[in-house]
């Protein structure tokens, strides 16, 4: 299901937070709405670059994190589903290892300008490439 069609999905341009609200290399969750139909997404940051994804693992369709705002491996090299250790690349959400290898997180396009992170309009996904942990 496309993220835009989900109930409570944020509108384009919605501000999320300041860049410095996300420690470099780590992630932060954003929740729109409440209860059963809340829209949950997270943003990961590397330097000045940011990427957004719905907080839903393609493996079990359950949230990626178990602890608040903990979305990445301890060395901050990959997004990791804490439930069953699926490992995803920051920049395209591609799963390079784990129980849903070769699946991808859906993309929620975000941008950072003058230190403010916002939802932005969709653009082409980057080319996939292999990296190793």
């Amino acid at each position: 299901m496309e993220w835009q069609t989900q109930r409570n999905a944020p509108a384009l341009g919605t501000p999320l937070c300041q860049l410095h609200d996300i420690p470099d290399g780590q992630g932060k969750e954003f929740v729109f709405g409440s209860g059963y139909h809340a829209f949950r997404m997270f943003v990961v940051r590397r330097g000045a670059e940011v990427w957004g994804y719905p907080n839903r693992c393609p493996h079990f369709s359950i949230p990626i994190n178990v602890q608040q705002d903990r979305f990445v491996t301890s060395n901050h090299s990959l997004i990791m589903c804490a439930n069953h250790t699926a490992l995803f690349q920051y920049d395209d959400g591609y799963c390079i290892d784990g129980p849903c290898r070769a699946a991808s997180l859906d993309l929620v396009p975000v941008s950072q300008h003058n230190g403010m992170i916002r939802i932005r309009s969709a653009s082409a996904r980057r080319d996939r490439h292999e990296i190793h942990v």
Partner: protein, 329 residues
């Protein structure tokens, strides 16, 4: 990149030995030996290699699962959801009270990569650690003899919402490699007939769960057959014994669908016996969040495991916010 510390193949057996932190792992033709530092010395523990590989297989394929995966009364892992504790004797009173236990924490990708390397090197051709003893060979014993990559790269079968839906897991059939298991030749294979009201044709879906389970090719490896937010139905077929002793970090519900499973239930911290639960078809049991359990199934049985994947549950149980029991009797 994770560095896997492995030796050259042993000149006699052909198997590599591995080190992970201060732990070391080696195997011979029948046994696995795990060593760890204790009281300025090195302590060792020995397990049959088939039991070790079956436990290791579950730990790897389940991504360290919920909470504690005890390989036996001494060795196991605790999932910290981002890191993993590998322990020896920590949840065994004899070792722990004598200060002979040891725990070391690893980044999840690092321990996973090492465990996969052990599994790959030590699993011989013809042995499937996911299979029931009567359904696989005895080539696990003896000197190194090939490998079985296809078997050990199996994962828990999952679905996004429910098998059979568009863009979701396929229903099982002879055509896609899921023949009926030898234990279930009498299971009805008809799919349910759905008569939807006009306008609702694409909103109603049903499957024959017994048919789906009768075609499971493994044992003690739940599939996911429905996902409703954080509620997961994980039915499975079980034969022989659960190769791990699972220590819960949340409440799990078990619903016995066929045949019989006996559960040995103990205290999560110490392993002291707490209950023996014999489940027959239709029985429902709640496994509390403060126990460890191991199941024994003399004949292949169908079991529905209902899991709660709500984020943050372990912390809420640890803090006492949630009772380990779903109700007070």
């Amino acid at each position: 990149m994770s560095t896997i510390r492995a030796s050259a193949p042993h000149p006699h057996t052909g198997y590599k030995s591995f080190e992970l932190g201060a732990f070391s792992f080696s195997r011979d033709e029948y046994f696995v030996t795990v060593s760890w530092p204790a009281r300025e010395a090195k302590l060792s523990h020995t397990m049959p290699v088939d039991a070790f590989l079956k436990a290791l297989m579950r730990d790897v394929s389940w991504g360290f699962f919920y909470g504690w995966v005890n390989f036996d009364a001494v060795l196991g892992t605790r999932n910290r959801y981002g890191s993993v504790e590998l322990y020896a004797g920590r949840y065994n009173d004899g070792y722990h009270d004598s200060v002979l236990d040891y725990v070391e924490t690893f980044g999840t990708p690092h321990i996973l990569a090492t465990f996969k390397a052990v599994l790959t090197d030590w699993t011989n051709a013809g042995f499937d650690p996911f299979a029931a003893p009567a359904e696989t060979g005895t080539t696990v014993f003896g000197k190194k003899n090939g490998d079985n990559i296809a078997a050990i790269e199996r994962n828990r079968e999952t679905c996004r919402r429910m098998p059979g839906l568009p863009n979701d897991a396929a229903l099982r059939s002879d055509d896609n490699g899921y023949p009926i298991n030898r234990a279930f030749p009498d299971v009805d294979q008809d799919e349910p007939e759905v008569q939807a009201e006009p306008g609702f044709e694409n909103e109603v879906h049903a499957i024959n769960l017994f048919k789906y389970l009768s075609r499971s090719d493994v044992t003690w490896n739940p599939s996911v057959t429905s996902v409703c937010r954080n509620s997961l139905f994980c039915p499975t077929t079980e034969e022989h014994m659960l190769p791990i002793i699972h220590g819960n970090d949340r409440v799990e519900w078990f619903i016995q669908l066929s045949d019989q499973i006996t559960w040995q239930v103990g205290d999560k911290e110490t392993g002291r016996p707490r209950a023996r639960v014999i489940m027959n078809p239709g029985d429902v049991a709640s496994m509390p969040a403060d126990i460890r359990h191991q199941g024994f199934s003399p004949k292949r049985a169908m079991l529905l495991v209902w899991e709660n994947a709500t984020p943050g549950l372990p912390d809420r149980y640890d803090s006492g916010e949630l009772s380990p029991y779903p109700i007070d009797l």
